[in-house]
Symmetry: C2
Subunit: 338 residues, 2 copies
DNA sequence: CTGAAAGCGCTTACAG
DNA sequence: CTGAAAGCGCTTACAG
């Protein structure tokens, strides 16, 4: 690989001058510029980013962090859409992405991740931070790397989906259809800050409608999976005269629908089932699932934009992004018979 | 951030010694080791990777490359599973991932990507390389970065799915059920090397069974999407006495099923529909889709293992990974009536 | 086993 | 407007 020195020699100027031409500082003649650029062209010179990083402190590398809190993290639609959004913004600005999915433990994220954060490799960080177990962003603070959190972690700059509003509109939809006996299929809320807010939205809305949320049959040993949705539906439907199942995510909802059908009921004629996330399968499934679209790509776009503002020494405002209720085929008024 | 020099001072040794202790070269006393390590501990020293990269030429960064050939690349299950596999191997060895999704044009990949490849940031590269338009790996050859291709690009080290065997077993399944009039829903094969091989497998198998593949009704203006599957099914079913639709991927197959049902036919009773990929929705859909599982996570695992062998100065063998036929509910013998 | 010194390829005051 | 020189924080022969 050609170096600055070789370019300088070929152009007949000093390496300092080459460096200045390439970094677009103002002071040089057009003549110099021409000589340098043609030498660059001829040699096919491209900068050594490691050297540039060492001397300037800038790498043009953005860390994108997703805590590896369950298997198959890359098949999580939330992760995919966030990545999509962040990547688009980075690409536009000529930045590259270092993708890190640190395993978490009570002692914090793994060693390799900490090394990365403090390596001076990263100009900035976008991190999904929704897991109470331990924040992936706290170690970064030691190094003052600009960072934007996606989620509920306690950080100065964040973007998050409005889980409260989303769960509120979901429950309002179910209640407005006339359902009074509603089963809740969910996961342990200690796993996830978003879940706490979704629960709050469901509860408040139900109680506002005069329903006793505390007495709703609940299954809270789910793990977001289809299988746990089936199990939850089986348990909840066996004990109560439930006419609707509100599920904390789409995969559990799809499992619930399958279980409901297996038990000989129809969706939505006998039982209404709704989910949360609007994954691809939600639209494809028959019946198509009523659910909440949290507009995840927007989370990634906004987070990246905030980070670049930070890198530009501006102070961005944190944002909360509203969700959208998608009414499809899996929800309907209750049959009086049940 | 503390530097080597500060650690050296605190430990009362030279920076060369600290460096040697940290990089596990053999020559130093246990006493020295202790002193150095406790200084490292106290100061919370972590190496500056940019400096290390500049002087040693090693970054512990692996480039993972997916050409951005269509919108929503991160929602492509193949991409997800490959990433999953590569990440697992890298994490195990303390490597981090630089994720790059260069836009391609006839002139080659975009500038920012070329800069990355030649930046000396990357110790090695794993690249999905299936698109004839232009290879993402050719520029890297100039810098001799070790690289493994996933796909059909012309590279010394590669891993690929056995598309020929997969499409062969898919067509064998359909033919063995008794179908003779088979519609093909596919995409322009110039888009993708895998597709060329799948077509070859379908054709050879059909002809071996004594069928005239050339006269099968075909729709080849698909784009992998659900919508194009619907369109294709509509066109093919309108003109012929077809009893089965073989689709080049699952999303088109799912679209085809919806279209078949909309036209008043049942799947599989009236029309058999099969796909390729085994995405999540293939299992969830009703009827569940008969399809080919190309075991994409394995592609990522193998590619990464080959790359690490290369970094270790070993010569890995390229591999072709066999697929698995998943027989579900969407395929059945033809009704004689149609 | 340990240390002084050169060098990796850039950027950036500073002087001219 | 241009260039000589120091310095970024490491690693690595080399000498001792």
């Amino acid at each position: 690989m050609p170096t600055l020195a070789e370019v300088a020699q070929k152009a007949g100027v000093s390496i300092a001058t080459v460096s200045k031409v390439l970094s677009n500082t103002p002071y040089f003649t057009e003549e110099t510029r021409r000589k340098v650029m043609s030498a660059v062209e001829e040699l096919g010179y491209l900068p050594n980013l490691a050297a540039r990083a060492l001397s300037s402190g800038k790498t043009h590398l953005i860390g994108v962090i997703f805590p590896y809190v369950y298997e198959g993290i890359f098949t999580d639609p939330l992760v995919q859409y966030i990545l999509e959004g962040v990547e688009a913004e980075c690409n536009e600005r000529g930045y590259n992405i270092v993708l890190s999915t640190p395993r978490l433990s009570p002692d914090g994220p793994e060693e390799n991740y900490r090394r990365l954060l403090q390596s001076s490799y990263l100009d900035g960080i976008v991190a999904l931070d929704n897991v109470p177990l331990s924040s992936v962003l706290s170690p970064s603070l030691r190094k003052n790397t600009p960072a934007v959190a996606i989620g509920y972690g306690d950080h100065p700059y964040f973007v998050r989906s409005d889980d409260l509003q989303g769960s509120t509109s979901l429950m309002e939809h179910v209640v407005s259809l006339g359902h009074r006996h509603i089963g809740i299929l969910t996961v342990d809320e200690s796993l996830h800050y978003s879940i706490q807010n979704r629960h709050l939205g469901l509860q408040t809305t139900a109680e506002t409608a005069g329903l006793n949320y505390a007495q709703f049959p609940k299954f809270d040993r789910g793990d977001f999976s289809i299988a746990s949705g089936m199990q939850g539906a089986a348990e909840v439907l066996n004990q109560e005269n439930v006419t609707a199942l509100v599920c904390i995510n789409d995969r559990m909802a799809l499992g619930a629908i399958q279980q409901v059908q297996k038990m000989g009921f129809r969706v939505p004629d006998d039982i209404t089932v709704v989910g949360y996330d609007d994954i691809l399968s939600a639209q494809l499934f028959s019946p198509a699932l009523t659910t909440i679209d949290q507009r995840a790509p927007e989370l990634g776009h906004q987070a990246a934009q905030m980070l670049f503002a930070l890198l530009n020494n501006e102070i961005p405002d944190s944002v909360v992004i509203p969700t959208r209720l998608c009414i499809r085929e899996s929800s309907a008024p209750p049959k009086s018979s049940r």
